[in-house]
Amino acid sequence: MSEVPTVLAAEFPPGVESFDFPSLIPALEGTAWAAAFTKVTLLVWIAAAITVIFFLVTYRNPQLVPTKKQWLAESVYGLVRDNIAKDIIGKEGARFAPYLTTVFVFILVNNLWGIFPFAQIPPMSHIAFPMVLAVFSWALYIGVGIRKHGFLGYLKSSVWVSGAPLWVQPILVPIEFFSNLLLRPVTLAVRLFANMFAGHMILLVFTLGGVALFQAESLFIKPVAFLSWGMAIVMTLFELGILALQAYVFTLLTATYLQGSLAEEH
């Protein structure tokens, strides 16, 4: 047992390489497919399976008067449907509730791996996954906008700030174009990624830092390790809030962008 901390302590301070995991299939190591079969992708698959199985099982035989499990599944959908989709998009919002709920649940379950014992790595701290989700949301809100206003109509409604003086438009139009049509998916992805990355990094710092302190030569420094581990526990609880919040924020912003695409005026 005494060797384990030694190995872990060697990783202190944690860096970006702490987020790299070796391929679970050694033969693929070094090839382009190495990243496709790691602990992180395994967690993504398990999260996807849990999500799908949970909803399929709880809603296999729905009743008018819901059972407990059915109620749980319905309240997750109802939360996103009523509190995000309908509140932000309006009465048309229910149409997007399935997508928004899927995004919310997918992010939430994946994020929970960040504090789940033995998993303890949020897949969303690998930008590939937030990127996929952001591209989905981006394509959806642009597609919805084009379908509603036509290509040119949507382009105009997203870049033209009506009400602004004409001479400001040359400055506003490029900024609006850049921020509304190009930057939004980037900020969506980076916000989620960076939060989960930083959260994991903080947990690593306190946990590995505690190990390093415990292994220190000086007897006076050793007890500080417990303080560090205590902080790691506090931060884990804090992380629980953050991971739920980030899932909520991502869904909320997607809904806001959809609302912008459906709005008559910019």
Binding site: G15, V16, E17, F19, D20, A32, W33, A34, A35, A36, V40, T41, V44, W45, A47, A48, T51, V52, F55, L56, Y59, P62, L64, A73, E74, Y77, A94, A97, P98, Y99, T101, T102, V105, F106, H126, I127, A128, F129, M131, V132, L133, F136, F197
Partner: protein, 177 residues
């Protein structure tokens, strides 16, 4: 070596390996497809069914209430009608009874009058008969008695008849007085 490792890993933070993107794409697409296709439409349908069940229940309750009110109104009307009818029947019966009583009384009175009249008539007739018989008999008896007493036949019929009648008339007049 340390710098190189950091540089290599650092660039991979924001430039993910393609294979990982593919995994994310496939995993999310599968979840999205299954949930959007098989789960959430059923939830919407269930919400709708629930709304209909509740609204249907309310409508049914309202219909039942209206039906009950209608029936109550009907019963009340019927009850009022029945009361009126009963009162009318009672009044009729009372009037009938009174009529019948009057009829019976009138008939009884008539009958009694008739009986009394008949009795009187009969009595009068009998009295006449008796008086006639008595008159004849008394005359005869008196004559016989007188003849026996006198011992001789009163030859003169006319006188005899006249004296008897006179005698009897005296008797009657004194009796009437």
């Amino acid at each position: 070596m340390y710098l190189a490792a950091e540089g290599g890993a650092g660039s991979s933070i924001l430039l993910p390996p393609l294979s990982e993107i593919i995994v994310g794409l496939v995993a999310f697409s599968v979840v999205l497809f299954i949930l959007v296709k098989f789960v959430f439409p059923r939830m919407e349908a269930m919400y709708q069914a629930r709304v209909e069940a509740i609204e249907g229940g309310i409508k049914r309750a309202e219909a039942a209430q209206a039906e009950a009110n209608k029936l109550l109104e009907q019963y009340k009307t019927q009850l009022a009608e029945a009361r009126t009818d009963a009162a009318k029947i009672r009044d009729d019966a009372r009037a009938d009874a009174e009529g019948i009583r009057q009829d019976i009384l009138a008939k009884a009175r008539e009958e009694s009058d008739r009986i009394i009249a008949a009795g009187k008539e009969q009595l009068a007739a009998e009295r006449q008969t008796i008086v006639r018989e008595l008159r004849a008999e008394v005359g005869t008896l008196a004559v016989d008695l007188a003849s026996r007493i006198v011992g001789e036949s009163l030859a003169d019929e006319a006188r005899r008849k006249g004296s008897v009648d006179r005698f009897l008339a005296d008797l009657e007049s004194s009796g009437a007085r």
